[in-house]
């Protein structure tokens, strides 16, 4: 009976565990299973059960990659899948709310005569495609009278805004939760300077070494009773190890190199931007501009890595951040120049200018895709061939996670900018990311080796999301906002034709609401006096700043509380006379331990000294 109860208890405990695992992400699942204090058979059983119950896309592939290559490489594939989900959502709402009503209303594209589909349109996006539902221009500004009065221009505006707001909210939430997990809860004493003291392992077979090892264990046995001394010791040793003495000329040289490479990098980024600016006049006729942009995005980061090799930063992470910042600067400057051209020059050149911008973005996306595939070929396949057959000293290449992640973030930014001008661009993006996943997976397994340094994957994830959000998403959002707020929509085509600015659609709607629903005067009043007035936004900003300040002070106060509580745990008053004994112990033991630790390092430990002091505490 008891056995049966025990079995039932075990089974339900296991079911709870499996349920818990299924709710976690892949990296966390793998980590949690490995850390379970159970036998191998039980773990295998649990992992199989949880794998069966997880219904995610590509779950088994990602587990395989995570297991073989580690969690920093897995971060790339997780991000790729995440962005793919964004695009699928975007496609569904765009197709559902914008394209289907248009197809119902008027399903024949109004192409002029003798414009037939030639294969070239897939690459250039112009020609036949210009008149299809692919671009802004074909969308109508009429209201469909069906079951419901469906105002298509309102639908267009709201669908795009809802999607951007949704992306923003998801990014903010994942950034906040990532920060909370990786920075706020991190215990500063856990990644301490214990690496300084040797890792005494049992792989010792030499007799003398064993004796020395055993003797040091005696000391450690007692040390475990007097812990604070060790912490003090650790800090002083760590401080001594990290002081670097540098002479003045060396410092000047170092700063000179930093300054030089920063100037060079910034100069390169600006030069790329300027050259794109001059090439922009060829943009609408040829594929020259996308080609040059992709080429620059491929070649210039290699130059940046070269500069990085000559600089010597004090820490690994500073080096990575510097490289990342330069790459981001390059891409932002190129995109900035292109957006300037699209916002200021193109509207004046064409009557129907939004589809032109849409086409330009389409071409950028396609050429970027081609270059990504080529990059995979040159970067990974050829490196593998060179590394294994031609020049074996180089070895198998590692998967460059940072560069690949930046590439997909850039690709997604193009899609975010383009969604206003070309509602079905997410389709291309979905295909692109889908194919890219498989290409990268095959390239990874065939050509690359797991990274040697297991980088800090969790902090990297925080930085990735932060990067994704700030320069790239906010940039795309501001471009779309600027377009809809300040620029005049084209007269002859598109859902906003005839209006002074896109936002005028809302004003028109408010007027309609006023006419049709007489009871909603309050909504109109809110719009006129609250949303349109500047004072309201000023007050809101002020209130939000005050709230942020209060929360910040709260967080600081909590940090101090944590430090205080930790100190209290140290001094926990279990037995009052013990505290006195401990204090005496510190005064006697601390200087002794400094001595002892030096001797451990040199391999000499006098047992007699230890024996003499046992009675003192």
């Amino acid at each position: 009976m008891a056995c049966a109860c025990l079995v039932v208890y075990c089974v339900t405990e296991e079911q709870d565990l499996v349920k818990e695992l299924v709710a976690l992400s892949i990296t966390e699942q793998i980590k949690k299973i490995r850390e379970l204090p159970r036998s191998f058979e039980e773990k295998k059983h649990i992992s199989v059960k949880s794998a069966k119950q997880t219904l995610e896309l590509w779950h088994s592939t990602m587990k395989e990659i995570g297991g073989k290559f580690g969690s920093s490489v897995l971060n790339y594939f997780v991000l790729l899948k995440w962005l793919l989900m964004f695009n699928i959502f975007s496609f569904l709402i765009n197709f559902g709310f914008i394209t289907i009503p248009l197809l119902i209303y008027d399903h024949s594209p109004n192409t002029p005569a003798n414009m037939t589909f030639r294969g070239l349109e897939l690459l250039t996006g112009a020609g036949y495609f210009n008149y299809t539902i692919m671009y802004y221009g074909s969308y109508s500004n009429e209201t469909v009278d069906g079951l419901v009065n469906y105002d298509m221009k309102l639908a267009y505006f709201f669908t795009i805004s809802v999607y951007m707001v949704f992306c923003g909210i998801v990014l903010i939430f994942s950034m906040a939760s990532s920060f909370k997990k990786n920075y706020a809860m991190a215990d500063p004493s856990s990644n301490s300077a214990w690496q300084l003291l040797h890792s005494w392992d049992f792989s010792i077979t030499n007799e003398n070494a064993v004796n020395h090892h055993l003797k040091s264990n005696i000391l450690r046995c007692v040390i475990s009773v007097i812990f604070v001394i060790l912490l003090l010791l650790q800090e002083s040793l760590a401080e001594k190890a990290h002081i670097e003495q540098k002479t003045l000329p060396e410092k000047l040289q170092q700063y000179g190199i930093y300054l030089g490479s920063w100037l060079l990098s910034t100069g390169l980024a600006v030069a790329c931007g300027v050259s794109i600016f001059y090439l922009c006049k060829y943009e609408d006729k040829t594929l020259l501009v996308p080609f040059v942009v992709s080429l620059m995005n491929m070649v210039v980061p290699l130059l940046f890595s070269l500069f990085n090799k000559f600089e010597h930063y004090s820490s690994q992470s500073k080096q990575i951040y510097a490289l990342l910042f330069r790459n981001v600067l390059l891409r932002i400057s190129i995109l900035g120049v292109l957006c300037y051209h699209w916002m200021n020059v193109v509207p004046l050149k064409f009557t129907c200018w939004e589809p032109m911008v849409g086409q330009a973005l389409y071409r950028l996306v396609i050429v970027d895709f081609i270059f990504l595939m080529l990059g995979s070929f040159f970067g990974e396949f050829l490196s593998n061939v060179i590394g294994t057959k031609i020049q074996p000293r180089l070895g198998v290449p590692e998967f460059d996670v940072a560069r690949n992640i930046l590439e997909i973030i850039y690709a997604q930014t193009l899609a975010w900018i383009g969604i206003y001008f070309s509602p079905l661009l997410p389709v291309i993006q979905i295909l692109k990311f889908f194919i890219l996943f498989f290409i990268k997976k095959v390239s990874l397994t065939q050509n690359c080796q797991p990274p040697r340094r297991s980088g800090r994957a969790a902090q990297m994830k925080t930085i990735i999301i932060f990067l994704l959000f700030f320069p790239f998403f906010m940039g795309a959002l501001s471009i779309v906002a600027y377009t809809s707020w300040s620029l005049t929509p084209s007269e002859g085509c598109g859902p906003f034709r005839g209006l002074n600015r896109t936002f005028g659609v809302i004003e028109g709607w408010i007027d309609d609401v006023d006419k049709n629903f007489p009871g909603s005067k309050w909504a109109v009043w809110i719009y006129d006096n609250v949303i349109k007035s500047e004072l309201f936004f000023f007050l809101i900003t002020l209130i939000i700043l005050v709230i942020i300040y209060i929360f910040w002070q709260l967080a600081e106060g909590r940090k101090e509380l944590i430090i205080l509580l930790r100190e209290q745990i140290v001094n926990v008053d279990v037995k009052p006379d013990l505290k006195k004994k401990r204090k005496a112990g510190y005064e006697i033991y601390y200087p002794l331990l400094l001595e002892h630790s030096k001797r451990i390092e040199n391999g000499i430990l006098h047992l007699s000294l230890f024996k003499k002091n046992i009675g003192r505490v």
Binding site: I30, S47, L197, S199, I218, C221, K575
Partner: protein, 187 residues
């Protein structure tokens, strides 16, 4: 990554990779070490999961464990029958927990099991005395051993029952992180 080995199926290697801290190469290396211990007992083909256990005496003879004063207890705590006979899965389990990638919490759980000589889920004074004797290889006098053990229990026992439960042990360990760096065997 493409080399044809016939010892394990791909699913088995994937399961090992998911549930332990080892990569495929390391699992294969562990298997060859396990096989070396008793070439006539351990089959080369593990695809149909043979039921093969090696006795305690063979395992504690490994060079990695030979000089370890706790070798018997280590092997016993990882064996299912408590007598130290390890199957290959238990063998892998043992080295996985003792590897450098296992987190401190996991090592603490097994360290407690290893030091608990009478397997009653508490570290009483006798357990600690045996531990200290093995550590110091009988170089301290019995009075000194007793004194150290008393001091340790006094210091670490938080609930006043004169023996250390797992919570007391973990508390002690968390304040002296170096204690667990002894729980690292490289294979």
């Amino acid at each position: 990554m493409g080399n044809k080995q016939t010892i394990f199926t791909d699913e088995q290697l994937d399961a090992y990779q998911d549930c332990t801290f080892f990569t495929r190469k390391e699992i294969l290396r562990l298997h060859s070490r396990y096989h070396e211990l008793a070439p006539h007992l351990v089959p080369m083909d593990y695809t149909n999961e043979p039921d093969c256990k090696l006795p305690l005496a063979l395992i504690v003879d490994m060079p990695e464990l030979k000089e370890n004063p706790f070798r018997n207890r280590i092997v016993e705590s990882f064996s299912e029958d408590g007598m130290g006979n390890l199957s290959f899965n238990e063998f892998v389990d043992m080295f996985s927990v003792l590897s450098e990638m296992a987190p401190r919490e996991l090592k603490a759980i097994y360290a407690f099991k290893i030091y608990d000589f009478n397997v009653d889920n508490y570290l009483c004074k006798e357990d600690l005395e045996k531990t200290l004797n093995r550590l110091t290889k009988e170089e301290l006098t019995p009075e000194e051993v007793e004194l150290v053990c008393e001091k340790t229990i006094e210091e670490a026992d938080l609930d006043g029952d004169n023996k250390l439960s797992y919570a007391d042990f973990e508390n002690m360990i968390s304040r002296a992180p170096d204690f667990l760096s002894t729980f690292h065997i490289r294979i």
